[in-house]
């Protein structure tokens, strides 16, 4: 049985997209398909006019670097401290060490973890781990930010702060795709896709109010 069926969606550069649906609906699966973490059993995914299915192995890493991914299970490295976890994407891009430490600290500061840069992730609280994952996703200033339930482990205050970070990225032209259980409550122009029983419905196409 296929988790997702008859899915058809188009995301323009600079869009703010919400994917909603109940537990097990297929939100994570859809996000993984978009970011080429998983391959579709049938159908095609087109990114910048390229069919990702036909991308060969050597090109895949360079595609992935355009995405900032926040996984539902964080996927932090528990044998490196917070600083090194956030530094990883920059090391992969082979930046200067001085550049790296400047940008890592900026990212950690944004999620309120600058004072914990030398701690190991295992000693962080659940919400702090989630924020660390967000810092790692934004540190390389990706052109597409994909976040799978980024605020599930956070209380109201932190949730709002984090959502504002995403909105500020969207403001500067980054494409932002966020999954969540509930419909978003924002006045910013966005699209909301709801997954229900494997089908995708465009719930809302909220225009910018102001």
């Amino acid at each position: 049985m296929d988790v997702l069926q008859d899915i058809n969606l188009e995301i323009d550069a600079g869009d703010l997209i919400f994917v909603t649906g109940s537990s097990g609906a297929g939100k994570s699966t859809l996000l993984k398909l978009i970011s080429a973490v998983e391959r579709p059993s049938s159908g095609t995914i087109v990114f910048e006019n390229q069919n990702i299915n036909f991308l060969n192995k050597n090109e895949m890493p360079y595609l992935r670097r355009k995405f900032g991914m926040i996984f539902q299970d964080h996927k932090l490295l528990y044998d490196r401290d917070c600083f090194d976890n956030v530094a990883l994407p920059l090391q992969i891009n082979e930046l200067d060490p001085s550049d790296i430490s400047r940008r890592v600290r900026a990212a950690l500061n944004k999620v309120g973890l600058l004072n914990k840069e030398k701690l190991m992730p295992i000693t962080l609280s659940g919400g702090e781990q989630q924020r660390l994952a967000i810092a790692r996703a934004i540190v390389s200033r990706p052109s597409i930010l994909i976040a799978d339930e980024p605020i599930a482990n956070l209380d109201k205050n932190y949730a709002n702060e984090i959502m504002n970070i995403f909105y500020s990225f969207h403001q500067v032209g980054v494409t932002v795709i966020i999954s969540s259980h509930e419909a978003p409550s924002t006045t910013i122009k966005h699209k909301e896709f709801n997954i229900n029983q494997g089908k995708l419905n465009l719930e809302k196409n909220v225009p910018l109010l102001t």
């Binding site: 192995k57 890493p61 992935r64 996927k75 490295l77 990883l88 891009n93």
Partner: protein, 275 residues
């Protein structure tokens, strides 16, 4: 870890060392292969000289030693403790002889040479010391087979041990590999730390191997020194020279690199299957 690699690597190295030394020894002995040419009892000095000059011209013959019958008789008497026997024999029963070392071990060539020599007047009897050579070669053959068997088994162990270790490492760093791939690391970026580790393992293991070899050669030579009288200093093991030592370490590093490269590739492949 270094120790495992060191010990494992040192065993086939010891084998090689011994084999190397043994085949040097065998070369030394091989070319001392001799035939004995016994002359007729009533041969004249002139005839002896004639035969000697003839032998000297033969290209197969490396070295000629003439042993007058008196010398042979003295030797035999010493050997059999006959010198002091009462009623010794006044007449020497032994003939003059040439002892000839050959340049070849080819049995056909030796047979031809012997046939040629037999036609010379004054030559009574020719004895080939072939059995002794054959025996020695057989022993060396045995040693060789043993060392090669041992060596290949141990090299198998070495490869399995190194790649096992790197596999252990890739398992420990499985999450790191997965996450790195997901955020866009190229395969060579992911492999790099593992291959470095593999090379360092090889280097450290190689150094330890050299240390172990050094100690073993010293111990071995101490032991053989104690019983040197019986072997006439023949069995003194030479350790690898500088060039060979460097080659050994280089080989170990190469093996480490290879094992780690393969293990890392496998680890990445394992993850690629579930994309």
């Amino acid at each position: 870890m270094f120790l495992v690699i060191g010990i494992t690597l040192s065993l086939p190295s010891i084998g090689l060392l011994f084999l190397d030394n043994a085949s040097q020894l065998s070369n030394k002995i091989k070319y001392e292969a001799e035939i004995s040419v016994f002359l007729t009892k009533d041969i004249s000095e002139d005839q002896i000289e004639f035969i000697e000059s003839g032998l000297k011209k033969n290209s197969l013959i490396k070295n000629i030693h003439f042993e007058p019958k008196q010398d042979a008789w003295d030797k035999l008497q010493t050997k059999l403790k006959l010198s002091s026997l009462e009623g010794g024999i006044s007449e020497n029963p032994l003939p003059d002889a040439f002892f000839i070392s050959l340049n070849t071990l080819d049995s056909d060539q030796i047979a031809n040479l012997i046939n040629d020599l037999k036609t010379i007047e004054g030559i009574k009897e020719i004895v080939i010391d072939g059995g002794w050579i054959k025996k020695l070669r057989s022993i060396l053959y045995l040693i060789k087979v043993g060392v090669y068997t041992l060596g290949s088994l141990l090299i198998a162990v070495l490869i399995i041990v190194i790649s096992n270790t790197i596999r252990l490492q890739t398992l420990t760093y499985q999450d790191e590999i997965e996450v790195s791939r997901l955020i866009g690391a190229t395969n060579s970026f992911i492999r790099r730390p593992f291959t470095y580790t593999g090379i360092i393992y090889g280097f450290g293991g190689g150094l330890i191997t050299l240390g172990i070899l050094k100690v073993i050669v010293i111990i071995f030579n101490l032991i053989t020194h104690r019983i040197e009288d019986f072997f006439g200093g023949l069995i003194v093991i030479q350790n690898f020279n500088l060039k060979e030592s460097i080659l050994l370490i280089f080989t170990a590093m190469l093996a480490g690199w290879l094992a780690s490269f393969i293990s890392a590739k496998q680890a990445i492949y394992r993850l690629e299957k579930n994309i």
